[in-house]
Symmetry: C2
Subunit: 352 residues, 2 copies
């Protein structure tokens, strides 16, 4: 077991007492940091993902520069479909694009199961290297997309407004959809287990597109496969965070899916969510990421609201309700982090 | 007062008894219809909006072809900012784009109050012409964007993923934002009142982007101005529908905003929503629009679920939870409409 200088994040994931609320930020290793952009001038996004030295370097940047309480390995959710045999390219302005999206049974069959230690060795190496550089300062988080979210990209080929293709698939060929989701879940579970074996201290499953499904469809096509991943994870007590953006309608069921922590987007009232899920799981979030465009006063006011809404006691990990935007001034994030570190102590005083 | 052959829609808006659940579809006058595309081969989108004969023609198409229970005047929410002095163009693949978005006080001051009968005469004429063509078959709905949704387009210049510019405005220059929203609300109220005076039988306020705001921000920057419109409307008993997409967190407050009907997107459970808002307002919605990609069996199953979730009694207007997509086969919409017309009678039998 690691012996951390700062384990506030891990204790909060397990709802154990802490002296203050920990904070980390989705996409904290990213374009808003000049130091990250400097690395990206030498190497494109995919090269950074696939070069363990560079991935480790940018992963550690926000620990040094911003002072967050956890690191998250720099990578992309689409490394899984790529390892399964799909070719993807980063197109400027469009984002990741699969050149041959999945269209039929033959495409589905061609997808390979993977050995993460071989097929995603560059991620494993980045984890090992990052752990060394962190040297016990803070825990390291590994992540994966949810099977549903990965499937949307694999079928649409790229981001979409309407998600027509993947919706057509689940509504007209549910059997094919389920077999794909099942295969992706197996691969994601193997990948996350390998990351844990290599040193990550927690894993987060991102269901970025869960919120485009109706209740029943979310249960059938997303939640089932998030649970499948969690049930197959080989872990000791490494916590699992599930962040299902836009899935406001199923917090109670999500709270029973096996996750230790639920991530909340900024449209959810974290106080009401805590009442709804009780002390079964910890909650992560959920400041509107665009608040970081504002000045100190507004940032502190809105962060204070979230601390107050969550209220006294443990089980809260502060974060944004979505990834940080590239055009946020880093000093604004520093304002947020410093404020949460200082002001949250009030909510953790013994006996209150 | 009109004497309608079919007033199921209007009675349902007021929660009065009906023999069956009425149905209309957002964007029912649109590209999925070959007859609409035939008109668009002769004239581009804006020309159809601005030529009353053409606008009336496409407005009436789904009444004849699909058999929906209400018509909605063919137009665009951005006619308001254009009438206020902003120039917009339809860019293929991008959608509507304002060439000079609002950046400062001077831009805001340059926006004009309008006389809808002069500045938006083409809409008024389209309403008058459509009423004649409908000849009392079904009611006609007029619409407007909510002030918040209009402001997002006016500030961003076009659709956005992050809405950085408009969020920066409300967080860093709230006074300017409020004065803009107030002016837009005044104009929207005058416009909707003029449409009512010219013959529309109900109005819908579309808050397409309400759901990107947190609870407190929605109250401050959107709900306030929806209420302002409703309170200023000159109407007899024409119902007001408010459709705030993604605003799952405030159904109770929306139900008290003065609207007769709340539109629901497809992520909301209409049964739970009915329990939450009681019989204060009628509910409109809320089938996942992508279900129309599927076959008859799936469409009927999902539509049946919604009828069952709403349950016995009046106050339900069937619709999709979002506009119909352009690549839906019209015969699939016909399957939905026929099913709802036939099967919903069960939920309106006296004494049940």
């Amino acid at each position: 077991m690691d012996n951390f200088q700062n384990d506030l994040f891990l204790r909060s994931c397990k709802c154990l007492p802490v002296e203050r609320t920990p904070i980390w930020i989705m996409r904290q290793a990213g374009r808003y940091l000049p130091e990250y952009r400097a690395v990206r001038e030498k190497a494109d996004f995919l090269t950074v993902c696939k070069t363990p030295e560079l991935a480790a370097e940018v992963t550690v940047q926000p620990i040094d520069l911003i002072g967050v309480d956890a690191a998250i390995i720099f990578s992309d959710i689409l490394v899984i479909p790529e390892a399964m045999g799909m070719h993807f390219a980063m197109e400027e302005g469009v984002g990741p694009v699969f050149t041959q999206p999945i269209r039929n049974e033959a495409d589905a069959k061609a997808l390979r199961y993977i050995d993460p230690f071989a097929d995603l060795k560059y991620v494993i190496d980045a984890v090992i290297m990052t752990k060394k550089e962190l040297n016990g300062r803070v825990p390291l988080i590994g992540f994966s997309g949810s099977p549903w979210t990965l499937l949307t990209y694999m079928v649409e080929g790229q981001g979409s407004k309407t998600f027509s293709k993947v919706k057509k698939l689940i509504f007209t060929r549910p059997k094919l959809a389920h077999s794909l989701l099942s295969k992706i879940a197996d691969v994601a579970a193997a990948f996350l287990s390998a990351k844990i074996e290599s040193g990550v201290n927690a894993v987060q499953i991102f269901d970025t597109w869960g919120g485009i499904l109706s209740e029943d469809d979310f249960k059938e096509f997303s939640l089932t496969y998030i649970q499948k991943i969690i049930s197959q994870l080989r872990r000791n007590d490494e916590p699992v965070i599930v962040f299902a953006k836009g899935v406001h309608y199923m917090l109670d069921k999500l709270a029973r899916c096996g996750a230790d922590v639920l991530g909340l987007d900024w449209t959810i009232n974290i106080g009401k969510a805590r009442k709804k899920v009780g002390d079964k799981v910890a909650l992560q979030g959920n400041l509107d990421p665009t608040v970081l465009y504002a000045g100190r006063e507004k940032i502190e006011k809105e962060a204070g609201k979230i601390l107050t809404l969550f209220g006294q006691g443990s089980g809260h990990i502060f974060n944004l309700g979505h990834g940080i935007f590239p055009d946020v001034p880093p000093e604004n994030l520093k304002v947020l982090v410093d404020f949460v570190k200082k002001e949250s102590a009030y909510f953790h005083r013994a006996g209150e």
